[in-house]
């Protein structure tokens, strides 16, 4: 409860501070507030708070873990991209939208009722549609917002239809009640159709092939800083909700849906990695990379009945850090060359800004899964668990596509190392430099902390 209240009040507080002309204090307020949320989730740890006692939201350890991860990712995102918001006239609106979206993220990782799931997804999505279109003078950003809105609304309606069918079959929105019905009575045809429609809606939201078509366009069109948020906080929240659905509710149905999961995970990995190799735009490449990571996380959801949820948390955090770093560096690099996002834009980055080049290299290698970076452990957890469950063919696809991924990540790294003549330095703010350093250290440190997962 505390986490939700603090964050929603923070969103309103940001708007109020703007009206009261206290704009200087907005950033400190957000930092303190988000740290307070992390503190509150530590205090609440293990309490399993059931809000209003109506089984709508239960703040169990799963929810609190994801709440703090989403919160920390958002905090890191805000601190590393402060210079985007100083240039932006309506920055308070954007901050408020991000904070409201974060509230939706909390709901999505703590729901125990399908109504809450839907409301959570909407609270998260609607501010994101606006944020995707937030660069109002850029046609691509407008297009991204429009596309995201339409396809997101379609996905929401399919999801809602699925929820309605599941309600019709079981007579309840509660995850535990649905699980009971599934375990005792099995799933009838209505239930099956409902579950598949919910699955389709989720596949749209998290960008799984073949429902991934919007991802590259929206990720490319939206302002780079916003794309960074979309691929970390939003994706993390969506997978937290997806995993929780199968962890608490639809577990018995995994028997017959696991094959669909496995095929789509394999398809996402193949499509994303093959498409990524032919990209010439770094932002689009990172979008395809996020689809391939969605494939990995889908494989984790597929084994939600036996998997330790902390492995998914670890994956979300590690991928979030890496993706946040890479999008942030891309934003600064392209800002200094009139919005160029090709590989050439990265040329000579080692000389032009060593901190950024280092952070980018670490994040790309982490996403590729090369030890001693945290991305390796994240992929290792998923792969070893999938192997235990006997999906050898999926593991082979994962390993082969990871090898392909190394190729296209290295293309960016090579171009950073390519010297370029008379290029000026890329200046960044102090908070950005410190933020990138902290994120880089985290990428290495998380590798060694993986033993505690």
């Amino acid at each position: 409860m505390k986490e939700l209240v603090i964050t929603s009040l923070l969103g309103i507080g940001v708007l109020a501070f703007d009206i009261l002309k206290l704009r200087k204090f907005i950033l400190p307020l957000i930092v303190v507030g988000l740290l307070a949320v992390v503190g509150a989730s530590i205090v609440d740890w293990g309490m399993n708070e059931n809000l209003f006692g109506k089984n709508m939201i239960i703040m169990d350890n799963y929810a609190l873990g994801f709440t703090s991860i989403l919160c920390l990712l958002t905090l890191a995102w805000i601190l590393t991209s402060t210079d985007y918001f100083t240039n932006e006239i309506s920055r308070t609106d954007l901050y408020a939208l991000v904070l409201f979206a974060l509230c939706g993220g909390y709901v999505m990782c703590s729901y125990t009722n399908l109504v809450m799931l839907f409301i959570g997804i909407e609270i998260l999505s609607i501010p994101m549609y606006v944020l995707a279109a937030s660069n109002k003078r850029d046609m691509l950003s407008n297009e991204a917002g429009f596309k995201y809105f339409f396809l997101g609304a379609l996905a929401s309606s399919i999801l809602l239809f699925g929820i309605a069918l599941v309600y019709g079959a079981t007579g309840s929105f509660q995850l535990d009640a649905i699980k009971n019905v599934l375990a005792t009575a099995g799933s009838g045809t209505i239930m099956t159709a409902g579950i598949l429609m919910i699955f389709t809606g989720f596949a749209f939201k998290v960008g799984i092939a073949p429902f991934h078509m919007w991802t590259p366009d929206v990720y490319q069109g939206a302002p780079t800083v916003i794309t960074g948020l979309m691929s970390t906080m939003v994706k993390g929240a969506a997978f937290a909700a997806f995993f929780r659905l199968y962890y608490l509710g639809f577990t018995p149905t995994l028997e017959f849906t696991a094959s669909i999961f496995a095929v789509l995970a394999g398809l996402s990995l193949i499509v994303a990695n093959v498409m990524a190799t032919i990209q010439v735009n770094a932002k689009r490449l990172l979008a395809y990379s996020s689809i391939s990571h969605a494939g990995f996380m889908l494989a984790a959801v597929m084994t939600a009945d036996s998997m330790n949820p902390r492995m998914l948390m670890y994956y979300v955090l590690v991928y979030g850090i890496a993706s946040l770093t890479s999008f942030n560096v891309l934003y600064h690099v392209s800002k200094f060359q009139n919005g160029a996002e090709g590989f050439d834009a990265f040329k000579g980055l080692v000389k032009r800004n060593p901190v950024m080049a280092g952070a980018m290299t670490l994040s790309l290698l982490s996403m590729a899964g090369i030890p001693p970076l945290a991305g390796f452990m994240a992929k290792y957890f998923v792969i070893s668990h999938i192997l235990e469950r006997g999906y050898t063919w999926l593991v082979i696809i994962m390993v082969l596509t990871s090898a392909v991924a190394v190729y296209y990540y290295l293309r960016i790294i090579v171009s950073m190392l390519t010297p370029i003549e008379n290029a000026g330095r890329i200046v960044s703010t102090d908070s950005n430099r410190i933020g990138l350093l902290v994120l880089s250290i985290a990428m290495v440190a998380m590798f060694f902390l993986a033993a505690f997962v």
């Binding site: 929603s8 009722n113 909407e122 609607i126």
Partner: protein, 167 residues
Amino acid sequence: MLTEYAFWFLSFVAIFSALAMIFSKNPVYSVLSLILTFFAIAGHYFLLNAQFLAAVHIIVYAGAIMVLFLYVIMMLNLNRLEEDKKSTWMKFLSVAAGGLLLFVLLAVVKRTDEITITAQAANSDCGLVENLGKVLYNDYLLPFELASILFLGAMVGAVYLSKKELA
């Protein structure tokens, strides 16, 4: 008996006007047929003894949203919309995709066992305002409150997108 006639009549109007909405070339006719569909569905809610839902349905959809639609269409002056040129390939794919969903749903309807709950067993008053309010403020208080964050977020977003940028 009368209820049954009303049901068939309303269903016929709803389906017919929904089809008219899709097939009419003139966007204004489309919107007007959609309003008719909404009224027919609101009539269904009345038959189910859900007066509040019926009233809200008419006020929100037929009242607010459709007026907005009409307004936008008149502002854009889209009275004679040109036939948009979608490739046959795209048309074929969308018909195939929509047809597959229809096929699956029809299969679900066909294979589902007959529902055994009788109409008398269900509480027929659950759609009345008083009962609805009790449920909303007891069991569904949290989603009701959280919806306010959703609307606040949507409102801030709408203001952000529509306000003029001060250079």
